[in-house]
Symmetry: C2
Subunit: 366 residues, 2 copies
């Protein structure tokens, strides 16, 4: 049975379970980059205790949620807007912002392109070079930007390259952009999943720079992709324009209460960092040691890899793994990557071990 | 303390509780038209048993949900699209459909206008006449339509007038529209909250008429406005175009399982009809008997009313009631209505009694 799991996004265990004929519980999913520590207990408690909220419309101002988010990020509630996942914020932000053109480093999350195309904005790409290990080249980006881009949209950390820009480097870049009249959008969906955690975030710089907009989400860090809760941080004017474009109740009532757990999130975030620091290095080393594989140094909870042995490619590996109930992300669909690339999430140690063993077996069976 | 509850939508108990300084539990909310029987037990069970779904991305194809919805409605899964509440479907449908102009009967749900404006579509109104008790005048609408409208958007039952068009009348109207090349969009958010129930729905006519698009939702009938689950029913081409405009995961993972309860919904729907038949007539008669008040005959779970005594208006009544913890819907914001109109939901008998007593007191205290 040929299994073609080649999709826009990772994490589609529903499709995989149907094709494989096994239950979703039996699938080991390395294709979605979700915190393997699972939903924080305190968040689960909050959600369970507010099930009755489903019988009411959410507060259309999302006052309580915005307050909790703003405290968590360190800005004012007026500078925060919740959305139906960060996807919604990205889509509406570009429509509200309406730049004449946009610069996107690539490879990066495919939704950036989709959202720009959806808003009818001409896209320029800044190619991250394989020979430089996909280093996010800010100098190069600044040069392109100064040549006349009104907007730059980048992920930090970047997906699928797992690279991270320092706060200092970004500060300088945003400052140059301010002089050019260019808006910088930073998607920080994975920022709490770096060893430095939210300390790497530029969200608070929105107080200094009106041309900075930051996007965050509960999705990855708190392991709730099904809850659909993302948020944007930026200047009040733009926030208001995005709100005008939203439907009256973009965020469901459960998600509207999810912020209540944030004051207690500290221990979970700490545990996440400790797990990440250990497993990131362990998995990187193990995968690097497999002949026929090149691993790129990860800075967040996933690793980009390249198959270097002739006769192997992402298609065959993805399919071989899927037959064994393990999903990885074929990365050939990312702009500027080819069929030899794939991406794996970093999970708990037992799962990571199974991944390594399976990939090793893939090479030895040949 | 002047309390100005004058908003786009009813059901904002959050705002009211803040202004009144009382808990949301103490508020008797007649401003939102939600089924007072509450969440069906079987639905609640389904939601509780799928809380773990929050840690996964929803199936982007929403295959399981579409299947359940299509069985419930009596069409094919390809003709159904779920959305983040029916609001999302209305907004995206108009953008996907892109008619050159649109005809909207009014007064009606304000989101119709909003969505048309958002999509940049010029709006023509078909005024429902007060002197005809806001009868939904299909002949008049057909005439206007034939003068050159590419799209007609109407609610059936209509909000806030609580009027209902028969399936036969609608059939003829849709047939005329088909000849004119006009698309008819029918918002059936309240259709199961009529005495005839889903028997009044034209959803199955989408199999006969390519120019018909029907919008439904879980929101009102199953008392889950916080879940955010609406759906559209129509021709496959249009459904695909709407899907393209949606974000990858518009519906959250809990809502994605909500359809599982539909095969067991029968008893709840029956109970709803019995309650509605009794309370609708009781409340209408009671309110009609109050001097200074004109009630319009309701066909669904809310009643439109007009204050006819000099010195009274919707503002003063709304405020007076709110001070007593009872929210009603000031209807002055609806197109073609004035400051003398308001709307109340029909709730359980005890609540309805309290409403009647409070309104009676409003008149006698003067």
């Amino acid at each position: 049975m040929p299994l073609k799991i080649k999709e826009e996004h990772g994490g589609n265990i529903h499709y995989a379970s149907e094709v494989l004929g096994i239950s979703t519980d039996e699938i080991l999913d390395f294709s979605a980059n979700i915190n393997p520590l699972g939903i924080p207990e305190a968040l689960e408690k909050v959600l369970f205790s507010h099930m009755e909220a489903l019988i009411y419309y959410p507060d259309p101002g999302y006052g309580r949620l915005r307050e909790r988010l703003s405290e968590y990020v360190g800005v004012s509630p007026e500078n925060v807007i919740p959305g139906n996942g960060s996807s919604e914020i990205i889509y509406l932000l570009l429509k509200a912002q309406k730049p004449e053109n946009i610069l996107i480093p690539a490879p990066s999350f495919s939704e950036y392109e989709q959202a720009a195309r959806n808003a009818g904005i001409p896209i320029g790409y800044c190619k991250l070079r394989e020979e430089e290990n996909f280093r996010p080249a800010l100098e190069q980006m600044a040069q392109k930007m100064m040549a006349g881009y009104q907007c730059v949209l980048l992920g930090n950390p970047n997906n699928p390259t797992s690279t991270l820009l320092s706060k200092n480097d970004l500060y300088d870049f945003i400052q140059i952009a301010a002089r050019c009249g260019t808006t910088i959008i930073v998607d920080e969906a994975f920022i709490e999943l770096t060893v430095g955690g939210a300390g790497n975030s530029v969200a608070e710089l929105t107080k200094t720079f009106d041309n900075l907009f930051v996007i965050r989400a509960f999705t990855k860090i708190f392991a709730v992709p099904g809850l659909r809760l993302g948020y944007g941080i930026g200047n009040e004017q733009l926030i208001k324009e995005i709100r005008k474009m939203q439907q009256p109740w973009p965020v469901n009532s459960l998600a509207a209460y999810a912020g209540d757990f944030l004051p207690e999130a500290g221990a979970y975030l700490e545990k996440t960092k400790i797990w990440l620091e250990v497993e990131k290095d362990w998995l990187y080393k193990k995968l690097s040691a497999i002949p026929g594989l090149k691993a790129y140094i990860p800075h967040t909870n996933f690793i980009l890899l390249k198959l270097t042995e002739s006769g192997t490619d992402g298609d065959s590996l993805t399919e071989w793994m899927a037959q064994r109930g393990i999903l990885i992300r074929n990365a050939s669909g990312f702009r500027f990557l080819d069929k030899y690339f794939f991406r794996v999430a970093i999970k708990d140690h037992a799962a990571n071990q199974r991944l390594v063993e399976a990939i090793e077996k893939f090479f030895t069976k040949k």
